[in-house]
Symmetry: C2
Subunit: 425 residues, 2 copies
């Protein structure tokens, strides 16, 4: 790879998500050379992907060109690359566009959908971890409704109008809420010749509550909100299979649907060569110490979803969310500079800023450390926080304009099938 | 196709472009049943496609869901369909989703890229008639720059950074201007390790002037503007071939480029079954009379780009632009109602509202009937007119916000490779 060697030590960061970008920003204008690799040329604001899938936001508004984030940092290099392997013997990263030596390596590769080994579900279900995946889901939903118009077979029509979401975490809950609002506000107008009341939205949750990471209060209230919106929540049910038509479960329940969204879990996106059992832990994450060093290495680090940092409060590692990723990225920036200066690094301390989820118009749940609240105010807080963390002034403006419009007009205009999903199959 | 027969006569419109939408709107709330078919579920605002290709606008901002345009019109049906054939014997439209009888048929299928039979150029060049095509071009441009970073072969690198645009009409001119601004304002910051000054932008025009449909004054000034932006204009040169690397011409000139944009011509998108020599005329357009009736038919009409309406001022048919399409759509709405009421139809009279093209920041040319002007004011007029004709309040707001941002910040933020183009090949 065509990157000049300078007198500065080279830090290679794999992944331009929340963690990687926070780290790179922290290292800007410092005496290090930073090479950031990602398979996309943009950062994705993952918390709003469900709004892309449901036509509420344009995909480009939640993406930001990585080159632009760091354009004023002369010692920064971006490479659009798929990382294939880490050669830990020779301190090299092997990619589809060549090899690159590193002095320090930071794995910030995030997480990917976890199908728990079920290849049938992997094949037929929809995921929502990237912008193309979210656009595929948007196309599929709209294509299904267009197709529902054409059949006179009632079962087929219902299957085309039903949605089954597996997983009651924030992604599943937010998607279900958005779909319920579309069902109520948009479908009857767009498809007057379909009885869209028959469209069903199901959330299937393997445990006994939704929004498991949040307070009982938030979980209960979210359930209330969803039920008011007409979403069916099936608790203590585990999905066991899906052949593209029928969802089977570990109970007698089955569901007929043309759209199964798999939001039931994620796992760390590990990389070949850095996947030894000694440090790959539960959920495919890399075990790191309090300095984010991967167990057994001094110069290889992991941050964000891929890193499993265990403490007494989080015995299974910090939650796979934006906040730990951003905080770890920032702190590692400081620590790398300290390490290079041969100063002692500082242990990472997670500042829990709480969690939140939106269910729909005027409906959200927020857990702060000492204050838990739900409803309209929570919803405004949710919007403000998301606008604040969105990268880029233009993106914030455009998202804001869209939200105001959608709120005032009860609408979601990006219901466009730009790239058909089914036709490709 | 599942569409109930009512006591109203059925008008089938093929195509949801400017012409088809104008007609459908005119027929709303009238005693007709309207079935509009399109292969996309959205209307595309084609004049701004070049801004999607160059990252200035998000694709969804210039698309508008067709169902939404006519949602308050109870007797309107939209079908997402590819029309395969017109059965003029049985008055049926044959599509990929079934057959449909019509009482009145309106062809508003628009135009498609004309390669003049050169299949090699068709295979390797990029077109810009649809949103997916424009997104492909956006991806390709960005992928080429990423690739240029990787090669040490100077010729290859230059080819990756060169752009050849064939055709000096509005599309070619507007694209060239936008690329020139990106070259100047964005590439040096995004790719500090590339000598982007070497990137060349060429317009190749087979005749002796660009913007042929406009005044000599506009054409000259546009040439000035482009030359100031560093665009090379090659007049009286005809492109004869392109193998994906080298552009050959009818002269000694050749160009090395990885990106050839073909904007050299369009032709009517005729449909099988309605393609007899008696009424298919120059440029593959359907010859219509002053009521937009296709020659030889009383109940089959053509409007917009596909219709060739000849008068003494336009012996080769009205120009293939938005204005004739919109005006014909509106007028045909009236005429259809008159025809159904057994009243005489009214002859179409084209009101020439002029033409305009933008070259870049503060640079546009406008030809009105009695006033031709160029420069900053023309540019503001161009923007205002485009915002005005854009369908939908949200789209107007979002486009406006983007334009203000781009103007103030000298930026274009949608430089995202959402769906890679090259990887698919």
């Amino acid at each position: 790879m065509n990157i000049p060697r300078t007198s500065f030590p080279r830090v290679v960061i794999i992944g331009g998500g929340f963690a990687g970008i926070a780290l790179a920003k922290k290292l800007s204008k410092q005496e290090v050379q930073v090479v950031l690799m990602d398979k996309h040329n943009y950062h994705t604001f993952q918390p709003l992907l469900y709004q892309v899938s449901t036509g509420g936001l344009e995909p480009d508004s939640i993406a930001y060109p990585i080159r632009k984030i760091l354009k004023d940092f002369p010692n920064f290099y971006f490479r659009l690359a798929h990382v294939k392997e880490i050669d830990i013997e020779k301190n090299r990263v092997i990619t589809d566009i060549g090899k690159l030596k590193f002095d320090y390596l930071v794995i910030a590769s995030g997480s990917e959908t976890n199908y728990f080994g079920n290849s049938e579900i992997e094949k037929y279900s929809m995921a929502m971890k990237t912008i193309p995946q979210s656009l595929n889901l948007r196309s599929l939903i709209l294509e299904n409704f267009e197709e529902a118009l054409l059949t006179s077979d009632l079962n087929e029509r219902n299957a085309l109008m039903n949605f089954v979401i597996v997983g009651g975490g924030p992604t599943g809950v937010e998607l279900a809420g958005a779909l319920a609002e579309i069902k109520k506000g948009i479908l009857p107008k767009d498809y007057p010749d379909l009885d869209t009341r028959l469209a069903q939205i199901h959330i299937i949750q393997s445990s006994d509550c939704i929004l498991k990471g949040m307070s009982e209060q938030a979980s209960k209230k979210a359930e209330d909100f969803l039920e008011k919106l007409g979403v069916n929540i099936w608790k203590n049910v585990r999905v066991t299979g899906y052949d593209g038509k029928t969802v089977s479960t570990n109970t007698d329940l089955t569901f007929e649907t043309a759209t199964l969204v798999w939001a039931a879990g994620v796992k760390g996106a590990t990389i070949k060569g850095l996947d030894a059992d000694t440090f790959v832990t539960k959920g495919n994450r890399l075990l790191v110490n309090e300095f984010n060093q991967v167990k057994g290495f001094n110069h290889i680090f992991a941050i964000g979803d891929i890193a499993s940092m265990v403490n007494h409060e989080f015995p299974e590692g910090l939650p796979m969310m934006a906040q730990p990723a951003i905080q770890q990225g920032k702190q590692l920036g400081d620590n790398l500079l300290r390490l290079i200066d041969e100063k002692p690094m500082r242990a990472f301390v997670y500042k829990d800023k709480g969690a939140m989820a939106t269910i729909g118009r005027n409906k959200a749940v927020v857990d702060l450390k000492n204050w838990k609240f739900q409803g309209v105010f929570a919803w405004f807080v949710w919007m403000f926080v998301h606008l604040f963390f969105l990268i880029g002034f233009r993106n914030r403006m455009v998202v804001f304009v869209n939200w105001v419009y959608n709120y005032v007009r009860f609408d979601r205009e990006a219901r466009l099938i730009i790239r058909p999903f089914k036709k490709k199959l």
